[in-house]
Point group: D3
Chain length 317, copies 6
């Protein structure tokens, strides 16, 4: 059982529109807080979008995700899991990025996650654009390469953009494989779709053994079958879960920078996360929520609902 | 055949963007109008949201539903039913609530529906938050408990909020069962989902015999099967239909106060209403449309499309 | 004193967000209504924008103006006038336009206003684009040319568009002068500004004696001085007031098709209308409110506030 | 292989948010351009909505479709087709309509397409409202009646509106059949739904042999089966493809004038277009995108994604 | 000099879009926090709008005001005051209201402010609707009646609504005078305008000696002159400042429930607050910011800019 | 007289909502176009916001400014200047930035402007964030330091951000002075306001002789007086005009990343630009329009209206 210090504020005590909005109404425990060492799962914001090649805005993601997260209650309606009673959960605050300097920002992020790992905390990240995953993996994968279940409409396996820029939100997993942070044979990418520049990313995936499930296959086989394959691929070894909100159909998640028509609906978006409960999750992220493209917050509400499912998967093991 | 006095204005005579917006372009016949006694089905607005525990706004529902209802034409495309030629339909206006006083408002609503029933009119209500259903049922169910088919993502069966408040939009059907207005063994709730505080509502439902179909079951069995069960449960006795717009997926119906990710789409939202045609409908409501959360009116347009299906179900018997 | 039948519904009896939205919550009295002959001032919607050369949408103006007009109360705060107690006011409904046929629509509008005039009613119109003024003037000015105080950022005095089209929202007053409906020497246009194609309109104005007050002059002299001149120009003979919402700065009134930067603010927008109280107003319109460009309704709220000032000017004589 | 002159600008060379927005970042080649004769497929805007009987705004469609089309890349992710390398594609600009004169506008449109056809170009049109299809067919179908695959929620087969207006966006295909531009026995309409005034359109369809697939049938049989029938109906003779964006569910495509609840989702919207690859496409249009009802551009993004699928179908033969 | 514990986080250390959003990036110090006793000025949210007679939404005010407050920096540009270095400032969190029970909520608010006062903290409140001021004054004015400078477009001096409801956002200062919490001869209300039901409020004001400055007088005399009178009226005795955001023109502050056209602009909105620096401020509030009517947050940004000016006035004495 | 090749398309020939949107409907003449050498004034987009320290989005500025610029006609209404008949004007397209690399982007911008200058073209830039001005000045000011009239709410004279980042949109003019591109004694900054971190920028300005006119002084003296001083400071030597849209009040220009309450209105925003006609303008920019924060385009419409005034000032000499 968890420590009541880490229980979220109930909507019966303080209405859900009220209060300082921390993630899921959890206590705000930054790394200098004396309770930091007692946290099991830490929710961390990475308000950073300097890797974005097209429409920026994901830097505002953590703020809006916190705001909408106050709609989340204590218990998973579908599974009955009550994660906050199983794990000590906390809002660890945001990593302070340098919006002007990509390399400096990546170093800051890796350093923050090093502290999180040193404290034995499993990180659940709210991005930020997808380049965020690279500096996180530099911390989580530094000792041994991780497997990864990756939900996205893009592979993010390109080599470079704009004449040689190596660090963009289209390249993080190319880099992560090259740096030995991911074991490509234990990586599966689900939901890939949309128009493409060329096949450079697919060729790389094929060469190193990454499994790609395009959206047409996803719909044809059904999500249970695809997820069974995913669990088989990553096995029982430590695994990272990376969930790009643009995996979901852009009508359900318009607030993102690079939408692609024709993805899963909201129910399916939750269901795939729910099926992660037997994965050995070393860390997870939900990235690319971009509030300027969805002022109403519907995308962020879906995003935190997914984060809650991932948290329940962590708690339900 | 209906009286032409009660026919809606055609879009061929007056374009649909024009005119004073009554419900479905019907005549406005308030209780003091000499034609009040000739009405078969009366559409009534209940612009009231004082029972809302989270995000208010449903008080604006009737206005926006009237506005969008001018998009509705004379004939059901799928079934061929022309309800306005079968039944004398009218817009009965809005019940005047007291936004500052819950008890006063409930009394006003019950009194209004008592007049409607005395005139032999079947009420079709545009809410308002879900607490509206309670004072309506106090009129419709006063002689004998009704059955109910209830579409929603929440059970609204809680006992109280905020340290003892008994009358909120999360409690109406708990009260209605306690007051003998509903026969719980003839009640089915469809679409329940989302995170929960606890199981208090489910325990109550189980204790009194209310049937709950969670969304996972709904999708797994398919809507035809679930609706067949619903018709079996309510049987041929008088039945109330209560349709909370948050039954529908929030991407299809963002304009509501307490959305829950992962519900039915627009086609399914209509289809379940279409399948009510063999129900003995004593009254029906469509509640929780909250325009401040969907300025574009898409939610209200879906809402009136559902209301039209319910009206056709009433006419198609 | 007015007949209580014509009093608006009070917000103390029915909250302002409730009820079927007629103009200013007045009774809906269409020309076939037995009380039609008792009306002093009739508010009429002209939901028509077929004369629009650029961005359409004013066809939706009357609907949104009715909606926002429920914010208006009984008494002018600045002047103390209570117009609904002085004059029998009513919502006469909308003129049914033919959105596909300009000539047919203009004939329908003129015919409607002929009935209004025959009943001795002073019309206060909610447009519609500015071409609406022409068929109205064909009714009001048919016996003798009227004077006009015209608030606008455009003169609407052009000859034709797109290679010869004579009837657009840029030409109504050229036509009205040519047809003898307006006495150009008793016409003043206030607020003219923005970039121009050429000087054709100004040359016409100069040739026939129309007085134009550009916005630079308006701000330099102050509105009291300009309005004094306006009253002097129109004198005591019958006068039409035409108020294009794009007279107001587009930040205050974004919901319009052809905005021009740098106009009066909201206070000034009301103040010029307030100063019409000694004008012999034969009819008035408020045109070019285009809801698709201001979903929030702020433009319409300003528009009905101006209409209320004009109504008070009519009542305050 | 296509001429590199006709290749779109790559997002690697110029980020996708940058540059003058032509359709799919293609060269702008108007009819007076010396390269006009080298174009294989020309994308043409018809910024015109004078046939709209309800909510206008489709005149703004081409502008927003161009804007969102910069999100499209070089290769179809699902099929691997690279259309710009197969066909010389270009943005031919917009047909200049006369917003005040329907007959003049139709003549202008037909004249423009006559030039396009004379140059041997296959036109892919971005509307505009659905009346646009009529003057286009007057050019494409003048020598011999065409077959048509028509995606829509409405049949657009009515005779007239508002007391005799023959040219509206609800009548183009009635006129086209009457004028011998379409062979009704080779016409199929898919997705029909929503409330109706009467059965006049259905009776006409039955009389002349047009096949109508209502949305209920579409969902019941599945899209592969329906599309197989469609291909069978039109056969190998020249065929027009007309795609009204309101075919798609209004939650996925809110930016349109006459939405109807309960249509296909985004994935299905693309999939039906993808299945056109064996059709002998003489021309195609995507109409009724109305930006004032979807300021965010999601509808236009879906629209251009559909246009890209149609283009790939043209290239993939 | 203030304690560095109470300094806000600098935008140079953590970008302003990052971090858990407390008011002005101050530490969150709730009443149970050991540093509570060291606070000089406490910013408090009252997320409550149960007194709203028209359009609700102010319950969401504190959340959005916190969000936008991260745009505020350390120093007043106009006056050079650095309030956070002069006073120990903190975010004291939100008072937990009971959205279903007005009396319970008022008791909770008064109890919270009693704790604040007992700790010697000067409260700066972010509402909430204007009824919030009453329970606050029941704490602040319990020992001796306060003076008040009140910026608003309404007097909020009515007796009751809807047939006798005494506690609404239109009645707080009537109640406060009756309860002896305010000294009416030391009360001035500035900016009053808009249409009215009747003169009941003005008659009350005249009877008890409240000074009302209508907007026409405000603009005619200029704000310096009016504010000089205001300071003269309240003198040097303890004074409450109540700032309703609808004092400001609705184009500058659309996010409010009861806007009135024709108020001060943003510069004037700040300037009147800046001129409070010689007032003996016992407490202050900024109320009626209603985010559902301004999703973009412009109203809240103006609101927190006003709160910062009031804070600087408190610090600049 | 200008060459008709460079005349914009008239709204009488092609309605203003139609056509490929180039700046002010001018021909698109990129540097490789044979007519490049004939251009007098070139309008250039710099779609780049990598220097933004807070809310990004100005990368989308040129696109939306082009879109709204189609509202501009041929003649200045206030001054009668017809700039397109005086000067050969063209849309030179966008500089291709590298969104991932600040240094690379600055080099690309400077190289582009070197070509523009080599062709004898006066550049009028549509940003982009304010860091854009630095690489432009590196081209324009490379031979001799320029004077500058700078409209803004911020000085942009800071030394560095986030622990040493030297190139942000808060530092361009500090760098430009240090690099000898601007003559600080011929620089005036007008409109400065808002909260501040500290006085580092003001101290630098004082040390090097830059004149700062805060907004309070601007309003107190009036714009004519301030602009007279500005013209006196820059004299007759070559001068750069830099116009940050956040100079304008955020209610008039919400679409910007770092708004500050209390600035000039739309009329004043145009008027200050109109008064530049006797300045020796070597180049000018309008920066910081950020469409994600104003989807309606009102800010961009104001922005292009200002650009048109600057162009008329260039033409009116």
């Amino acid at each position: 059982m968890s420590d009541p210090f880490f229980h979220p504020v109930s909507g019966f005590d303080l209405p859900r529109f009220a209060g300082v909005p921390t993630f899921m109404r959890l206590p705000h425990v930054d790394p200098d807080n004396p309770r930091f060492g007692d946290v099991d799962v830490g929710i961390i914001g990475v308000p950073w979008d300097s890797g974005t090649t097209n429409r920026a805005g994901a830097r505002h993601g953590p703020r809006q995700l916190r705001d909408m997260s106050t709609m989340i209650r204590a218990q998973n309606g579908a599974t009955g899991v009550r994660p906050f009673e199983v794990l000590n959960c906390a809002d660890l605050g945001d990593v302070p990025p340098n919006p002007i300097d990509i390399m400096d920002s990546m170093n800051r992020i890796t350093a923050f996650y090093d502290r999180v790992l040193a404290a034995g905390i499993t990180p659940l990240t709210a991005g930020g654009d997808h380049l965020s995953s690279l500096p996180i993996l530099r911390s989580l994968g530094k000792d041994a390469p991780l497997g990864m279940i990756h939900f996205d409409s893009h592979t993010d396996l390109f080599d470079s953009y704009f004449g040689g820029s190596k660090y963009t939100h289209g390249t993080p997993f190319r880099r992560a494989v090259e740096e030995g942070l991911l074991d490509p044979e234990r990586v599966i990418q689900i939901g890939i779709r949309g128009s493409a520049y060329d096949n450079e990313d697919l060729d790389f995936a094929a060469a190193v053994g990454i499994r790609i499930v395009r959206i047409e296959e996803f719909f044809a086989r059904g999500l249970d079958d695809v997820m069974a394959e995913a669990l088989d691929i990553v096995g029982t070894a430590p695994t990272y879960v990376s969930y790009d909100i643009d995996f979901v159909d852009p009508t359900f998640a318009p607030g993102t920078g690079t939408p692609e028509v024709g993805g899963p609906n909201g129910f399916q978006a939750l269901q795939v996360a729910r099926l992660l409960k037997d994965v050995n999750i070393r860390g997870a992220d939900l990235v690319e929520v971009s509030p300027p493209f969805d002022a109403s917050g519907g995308t962020a509400f879906l995003g935190v609902s997914i984060m809650f499912e991932i948290l329940c998967a962590m708690a339900g093991k």
